[in-house]
Amino acid sequence: MTSNRPPILEVRGLRKSFGHLEVLRGIDLEVLPQELVFIIGPSGSGKSTLLRCCNRLEEPTGGSISIDGVDLMARSTDINAMRRRIGMVFQSFNLYPHMSALGNVALALRRVLGRKRTEAEALALAALARVGLAEKANAYPAELSGGQQQRVAIARALALGPKIMLFDEPTSALDPELVGSVLKVMRELKAGGMTMLVVSHEMRFARDAADRVIFMDHGLIVEEGTPEQIFSGPREVRTQAFIAEIAR
């Protein structure tokens, strides 16, 4: 990436401890506009915590985070107003089970953006159409497959017009035959110019969609590079061991 545009996400010296456990030990990371950055690493290395710090679902212990030039940690920053700019997709979908797909997507449009009901529903429907689920608008989460639920969750984040989307293992709770439908939506987002930070072990997807791959271990970024560099010729021993592990 030789863009000279300012990064959408800029993380500096990020630290996070849970009690005595240091989970993030000084992370520096930039994600440029329209870039798709992939994060891989062993279980417990702090990937989810890093993502959750990026919208302050987890409160960092130290360091700085800015989104589109806005300091997320500043006292004057309205975190709720910022969060709608930071879409988040979870491993376990976390759809609201008591609302239809449309209701799930429309809720924040109404309550955060203050749109009128009909307007919110029209926007929600458009977002559902983007993930190919317009015809499931009135279905409840329990009536949808895992892949469909995850796409509704993507629509829920997308509808708010995010500057960046954070994905935390979006396909690892899915049956193998449903993974493709979610990756297809993510590819379309990438093609549409969405900036994305993705924790996932879908190597094939990383190879053809990611601009950069970051390998994390024990709360630090160990190595980063193009998918080709990381997957085919990692320099660090720990990266080599991890790649060998997941390639099996």
Partner: protein, 221 residues
């Protein structure tokens, strides 16, 4: 045998007592309309307090819940009605019952709500907050509806208990169903009005008890 039937199932006496008991039933229903909503709202506040971020707030909530659950409601009611006047606070029977029940019921309803809120996975909060909803909005639109649904049988069961407990109001001379029945008993020297009152409670509450079992079975399946 004959004497026993006459003492407990004298239909002529029941028929004569019925109008009085129906007035009492009206009072019982009024009481329910006062104490049930108060308990439901008070309980929600108690639950939210017991989930507060501040440890001091949580602990005071827990202490208050323990206290009011350990005190027999009858003792609480008599204290409020007969004790507070010595502190210069004179209450009508209805107000005394409302306050005593608010203190007692809020603790029970509160614990039920709390269990309900805790039964909703943390992922629901995460999802809601990640879209920019404030904590209060996440609670109202996302968490509480699921929490209430999860503990609906317990909420209804507790409400049945509350309805039964309204008969305590008879000790502060509030003419509800039991008070009226007891009055009829002492006038007629016959227990049949009490049996009739029991029958009225049964008819009123049995369908609700059935509903609870059905809900419980539906949730279990």
């Amino acid at each position: 045998m004959q004497a026993l039937l006459q003492q407990f199932f004298d239909f002529a006496i029941m028929a004569r007592a019925l109008p009085l008991l129906l007035t009492g039933l009206g009072q019982t229903l009024v009481l329910c309309l006062v104490v049930i909503p108060l308990g439901l709202i008070g309980g929600l506040l108690v639950a939210l307090t017991s989930l507060a971020r501040s440890r001091a707030v949580r602990w005071s909530a827990a202490a208050a819940i323990d206290f009011f659950r350990a005190i027999p409601p009858l003792v609480l009611l008599i204290f409020v009605y007969a004790g507070l006047p010595f502190a210069g606070i004179r209450l009508s029977p209805l107000a005394a019952v409302a306050i005593a029940f608010l203190l007692n019921n809020s603790s029970y309803y509160g614990e039920i709500y709390r269990a309900g809120i805790e039964s909703v996975g943390h992922g629901q909060w995460d999802a809601a907050r990640s879209t920019g909803l404030k904590a209060r909005q996440a609670l109202i639109y996302v968490v509480l509806p699921q929490a209430v649904r999860n503990v609906l049988p317990d909420l209804i069961s507790n409400t049945v208990e509350v309805v039964k407990l309204t008969s305590l109001a008879s000790v502060v001379a509030l003419p509800e169903l039991l008070y009226s029945a007891d009055m009829a008993r002492s006038i007629t020297f016959n227990t049949s009005p009490i049996v009739l009152a029991a029958g009225i409670y049964l008819v009123m509450l049995w369908p609700i008890v059935r509903l609870v079992s059905r809900l419980e079975r539906r949730i279990a399946s």
